[in-house]
C-alpha cells in the first residue's frame, strides 16, 4: 500500500495493487457523511478500432458501442443493478466519455453492500438479443434528445469541422443507425477486451477506511485478470481542418457557437501542458481578460462564454463557446487578440491572476467526495497524481505559458460552428 500525501493541504490517499490486477485508490474522509465509489475502465467512444493482443487482427466496432455497453451492464439474469441498489439507498449511475466508462454510486449508509453490488454487476456481463433490442429503443431516444440540444450539436459540429478521421468527432452515443448494428456478440467482444481488471480502476473517497474497501474487493473479486496487452488504433489525422465554417439551423431562439483551434497532437498531452493551456486561456479569454471585456462591451457575448483545452488520445484543440447574435464577429475578435498577444506577449499580472485563480479552484474542487473519486479515476488513466496540478500551478512560469501561445494557435487552422435559428425565408 502506498500513501500519497500533501502536507500543505493536509490530505492523503492510498493506492493498493490488488492481487487480481485491479488498482484501488482510497481517500478516507472521516468527517464526511457520504462516500463515493467509482469503478472505471479506460474505454470510451473513441476506442472503435482495437485488438486484444498483438497476434490478432484489428477489430472495428460500430460507433456508440462503449456507451451501449454501459447501459447493458446494469442488467443481469436476475435483478438488475438499480433494483439491487434500491435495497441500500445508494444513488447510482454511470457515464461514458470519449476515453473512459465509469460506474459509480454515492451513499451515506450501507457502503459495503453497495460496493459489493458495484463490483459484482460490472464484472458480470449478461446480454441477450432481446435485451439488446430493448436498449436500442431507449438509446435512440437518448440520441434524439441530444440532437435537439443546441450546445451538444454545436460542439460535435466543431469537432467534425476540425477532424477528418479521428473518432472524437462522433457522438459518444453513436447514431440511431450505428447502434442498430450492435449485437450481443459484439458487446461481449468489447467487454472481454476492455473490462480487463488491469485496464480498470476503483476509486473511493469519503467516510470509509482502506481496510473496509479492500475487504469488499477481496470478497467479490476472486480471480486474477489475464495480462493485458490490448492495443488501440487511432487513424492518421492531417493537421489541416476539414472546413473553417459549419452552420446548421435548429428551432432555437438565438445562435450558439463553438470556435476551435486545431493543435498538433501525437499521443496524449501531459498534465503540465494541459494546465499551462488552462492558465493561458484564463489569461487570454477569462472573465478578467481584455478580450472578455471587449466582447462584452461589443454586446457579442454573455455569461455563457467560456473556453477549454479539449484533448485526449490523438486529438487536441482549443475551444471557445458561447451564445452570440454574431458568432463570426466573435471569431474575428478572438483571432485578432491571439495575433496581438503572440506579438506583444502575455501580461505578467494577467498571468499571475489566472494562475492564482486556477490554483484556488484546484484546491476548492477537493472539497467534494464525488469530484475526488471521479478525478482519481482520470488521474490514474493519465498517470498522474491527484495533488500534482496544485504543485504545477505553484511553479508555473510565464515563459512556458507564453510558448504555448506561440505554438498551439494557428489562425490558418480554425473552425467555427454555428447553430442558428431557422431562417424566416423557409
Amino acid at each position: 500500500m502506498q500513501e500519497i500525501l500533501n502536507t500543505q493541504l493536509d490530505e492523503r490517499y492510498y493506492c493498493v495493487k490488488h492481487s487480481s490486477g485491479l488498482t484501488v485508490y482510497v481517500m478516507p474522509k472521516a468527517n464526511y457523511k457520504s462516500c463515493c465509489a467509482v469503478f472505471g475502465t479506460k474505454y470510451g467512444s473513441i476506442d472503435t478500432t482495437f485488438r486484444k493482443n498483438r497476434n490478432e487482427e484489428f477489430t472495428i466496432v460500430p460507433e456508440g458501442i462503449a456507451h451501449f455497453l454501459e447501459h447493458k451492464l446494469f442488467e443481469s439474469e436476475e435483478l438488475d443493478a438499480f433494483a439491487r441498489y434500491a435495497e441500500t439507498g445508494a444513488s447510482a449511475n454511470a457515464y461514458t466519455s470519449f476515453d473512459k466508462t465509469c460506474y459509480y454510486f454515492t451513499c451515506t449508509d450501507n457502503f459495503d453492500k453497495s460496493l459489493e453490488i458495484l463490483l459484482d454487476f460490472v464484472t458480470s456481463p449478461y446480454f441477450t438479443e432481446k435485451t439488446v433490442e430493448k436498449e436500442q429503443g431507449i438509446i435512440s431516444q437518448e440520441i434524439q434528445m441530444y440532437d435537439d440540444v443546441p450546445s451538444w450539436r454545436v460542439f460535435f459540429n466543431v469537432l467534425g469541422a476540425l477532424y477528418h478521421n479521428h473518432p472524437v468527432k462522433i457522438d459518444i452515443a453513436g447514431t440511431t443507425e450505428s447502434i442498430r448494428k450492435i449485437d450481443a456478440e459484439l458487446l461481449y467482444k468489447c467487454y472481454n477486451t476492455f473490462y480487463n481488471l488491469r485496464n480498470m480502476v476503483l476509486c473511493v473517497a469519503g467516510n470509509v477506511t482502506v481496510e473496509q474497501v479492500m475487504s469488499v474487493v477481496d470478497k467479490v473479486i476472486t480471480t486474477q485478470a489475464e495480462l493485458c496487452d490490448l492495443e488501440r488504433q487511432m487513424p492518421e489525422e492531417p493537421s489541416e481542418v476539414v472546413t473553417d465554417l459549419v452552420k446548421i439551423e435548429l428551432d432555437v431562439k438565438s445562435p450558439v457557437f463553438s470556435f476551435g483551434y486545431k493543435d498538433e497532437c501525437d499521443g496524449e498531452k501531459s498534465l503540465k501542458e494541459q494546465l499551462e493551456m488552462q492558465v493561458l486561456l484564463e489569461a487570454v479569454a477569462g472573465s478578467s481578460s481584455e478580450l472578455y471585456k471587449k466582447l462584452f462591451d461589443m454586446k457579442l457575448i454573455n455569461d455563457a462564454f467560456g473556453s477549454e483545452y479539449f484533448c485526449g488520445n490523438g486529438y487536441a484543440s482549443v475551444l471557445f463557446q458561447g451564445e452570440s447574435a454574431n458568432p463570426e464577429a466573435v471569431a474575428k475578435e478572438i483571432k485578432a487578440e491571439i495575433e496581438r498577444l503572440q506579438k506583444k506577449g502575455i501580461d505578467e499580472e494577467a498571468f499571475n491572476n489566472a494562475r492564482k485563480l486556477l490554483y484556488g479552484r484546484a484546491i476548492m474542487s477537493l472539497n467534494d467526495v464525488d469530484y475526488i473519486a471521479n478525478e482519481m479515476v482520470g488521474c490514474h488513466f493519465e498517470h498522474c497524481g491527484l495533488f500534482e496540478s496544485i504543485d504545477i500551478y505553484r511553479s508555473m512560469t510565464l515563459a512556458s505559458v507564453q510558448k504555448k501561445l506561440e505554438n498551439a494557435f494557428d489562425n490558418e487552422r480554425t473552425a467555427l460552428s454555428i447553430v442558428a435559428p431557422i431562417s424566416k425565408a423557409e
Binding site: 457523511k33 431516444q141 434528445m145 443546441p150 451564445e323 491572476n353 489566472a354 484556488g360
Partner: protein, 430 residues
C-alpha cells in the same frame, strides 16, 4: 449540526453553520419579495447588475480581477421562484482562509465584497447608469432565449405557465420579454431601494469562518441602508380547477416532450409533505420507481420519465421525452402507474427503497457548503431553520397508508405536449 440564527435587524437574519471540514466556505445573501408581474423583471435585471459592477470595482475587468485575487472566488447570482415569492440570491464561494498564500482572511474580504456590491452600486447622478441597465437587459433576454432553446426547460416552463394561468406562479422567474424591454434605469433603481429596505433577508454563512464577525458586517450594511416594514410572503397553493386541460404546440424538433402538471391537493402552506416526498420518489423520482421501471425499461418508450415536486406551490410535474406517436401510450402508462400507488399496489420493499434513497440524499446535504446553503435558503420563510435530521425523522415515519393517501390527493391538471415534426436539420458547409 447546529445552525446559529441571529436577527441582524428587522426581517434580516443570518444563519451560520460552523463547518471545519471543508476547504471552502460559502456566503449567500437571499432576499425574498412577493412574486409579481409588475416587478419580476426589475429584480431579475437588478440581480445581474449588482453582481457585475459596483462603485469600488466599476468595470468588468477590475471586478473579475478582484475575484481572481481572492483565489478564484466564485460570485454567483440566482433568481428563484419559491412558491409565490421571488428570491434574489447573491453568493460567493471561496477558498478557506487556511490556504491563503499570504495569510489573508479571505472569508472576511468576501463578505465585505458582498456588502459593497449590495449597498454601494455604481451610480451616476444618484441613479443607475443607462448603459449598465441596458447591458443587463440584454443578458436577461438572452437567458430567456437560451431557456427556450433547451426544449426540456422550455416544455416544463410552458406547462407551468398554462397550468397557473393568471396566478402569479405562472410567470417566469425572470419576468416577460416585454417587461424586461420596458425597464428604465430609474425603475430598476427604485427596485434596488425597495429590495434592500423591504425584502425578507437571510444571510447564510457556511464554513470554517468567523460567523459573528461576518454577520455584523451585514447587520451594519442593512441597518445603514435603512429598513422599512418587510413584505408579507404568502403563497396560494395550486388546486385543480376541474377537468384536465391539454395544450399542444408544434416545433421542428426530433424528440417530443410530454409534461404533466398535477395539483398535490394541498390546501395551505406549511403542511407536512413527507408522505408526498416518498410517494413522488416511488412514482418517478428514482431508477427503481414505477415510471423508470415501466415507461422506460419495460416499454422502452423513452430515455427519461421522471416526477418531481414543487411543494412550495403544491405542484407535481412529470416529464418525458418520447416519439410523437407514442404520446397516448406514454400518457396511459403514466396514469396507470399513478393509479397503482393510489390503489396501494406497491410493495414494502419499493417503499423502503424510496425512504432509504431519500434519507441518503438528505444526509448528503451535510457534505458541501453549497447544499447546506440551498437547504437554508429553502427555509427563508420559516421561523426556525430545521436540520436535514429533522426531515429524515419525518420521512422515516411515513407509512404505506399515508403514501397511498397522498397519491389519492394528487390530481392531473394540465397536459402540455411539445410535438416534434420533421426536424433533422442537415449540416451544410457554407
Amino acid at each position: 449540526m447546529t445552525v446559529i440564527t441571529k436577527e441582524l435587524c428587522p426581517s434580516v437574519r443570518s444563519c451560520f453553520i460552523k463547518a471545519e471540514s471543508f476547504k471552502i466556505f460559502r456566503i449567500s445573501v437571499n432576499m425574498a419579495v412577493p412574486l409579481s408581474r409588475d416587478t419580476a423583471a426589475h429584480y431579475a435585471v437588478l440581480s445581474a447588475m449588482l453582481s457585475r459592477l459596483c462603485h469600488k470595482y466599476p468595470d468588468l475587468t477590475s471586478m473579475n480581477r478582484k475575484l481572481s485575487e481572492l483565489y478564484g472566488a466564485a460570485l454567483t447570482t440566482d433568481v428563484l421562484k419559491h412558491g409565490d415569492a421571488q428570491i434574489i440570491r447573491l453568493g460567493i464561494t471561496a477558498l478557506d482562509d487556511r490556504f491563503a498564500l499570504e495569510g489573508e482572511e479571505i472569508s472576511t474580504m468576501c463578505a465585505e465584497l458582498l456588502c459593497e456590491i449590495l449597498t454601494n452600486p455604481l451610480l451616476s447622478d444618484y441613479c443607475f447608469r443607462e448603459e449598465d441597465v441596458e447591458r443587463e437587459k440584454r443578458i436577461i433576454l438572452e437567458i430567456l432565449d437560451a431557456d427556450d432553446s433547451e426544449k426540456r426547460i422550455y416544455a416544463q416552463k410552458k406547462c407551468i405557465e398554462y397550468m397557473c394561468g393568471d396566478d402569479v406562479y405562472g410567470i417566469d422567474r425572470l419576468g416577460t420579454r416585454e417587461q424586461i424591454s420596458a425597464l428604465t434605469a430609474e425603475s430598476v433603481f427604485e427596485a434596488w431601494k425597495t429590495l434592500l429596505s423591504k425584502s425578507v433577508v437571510q444571510v447564510n454563512i457556511i464554513g470554517n469562518c468567523d460567523g459573528e464577525k461576518i454577520s455584523n458586517l451585514f447587520a451594519q450594511a442593512f441597518t445603514d441602508f435603512g429598513r422599512q416594514t418587510a413584505f408579507e410572503l404568502t403563497t396560494k397553493m395550486h388546486l385543480c380547477s376541474g377537468e384536465v386541460r391539454e395544450f399542444t404546440e408544434r416545433q421542428k424538433v426530433n424528440q417530443s416532450k410530454l409534461v404533466l402538471g398535477y395539483s398535490m391537493g394541498l390546501e395551505k402552506e406549511g403542511e407536512n409533505t413527507s408522505a408526498y416526498r416518498v410517494m413522488c420518489d416511488l412514482f418517478g423520482g428514482s431508477p427503481h420507481s414505477k415510471l423508470f421501471t415501466n415507461v422506460r425499461e419495460k416499454l422502452s418508450l423513452c430515455y427519461y420519465c421522471s416526477s418531481a415536486l414543487r411543494k412550495e406551490k403544491g405542484i407535481m410535474i412529470v416529464q418525458s421525452g418520447i416519439l410523437a406517436e407514442k404520446k397516448d401510450t406514454a400518457l396511459a402508462e403514466i396514469a396507470n402507474q399513478l393509479k397503482k400507488i393510489q390503489d396501494g399496489e406497491f410493495t414494502e420493499d419499493e417503499m423502503s427503497a424510496s425512504i432509504k434513497g431519500l434519507v441518503d440524499s438528505f444526509n448528503s446535504v451535510y457534505d458541501s457548503p453549497e447544499t447546506l446553503d440551498s437547504w437554508c435558503t429553502s427555509q427563508i420563510k420559516r421561523k426556525e431553520i430545521v436540520t436535514p435530521e429533522h426531515t429524515i425523522a419525518k420521512i422515516k415515519a411515513v407509512t404505506a397508508e399515508q403514501v397511498q393517501q397522498a397519491a389519492q390527493k394528487v390530481r392531473l391538471d394540465t397536459v402540455y405536449f411539445l410535438q416534434g415534426e420533421e426536424a433533422k436539420a442537415d449540416a451544410g458547409n457554407s
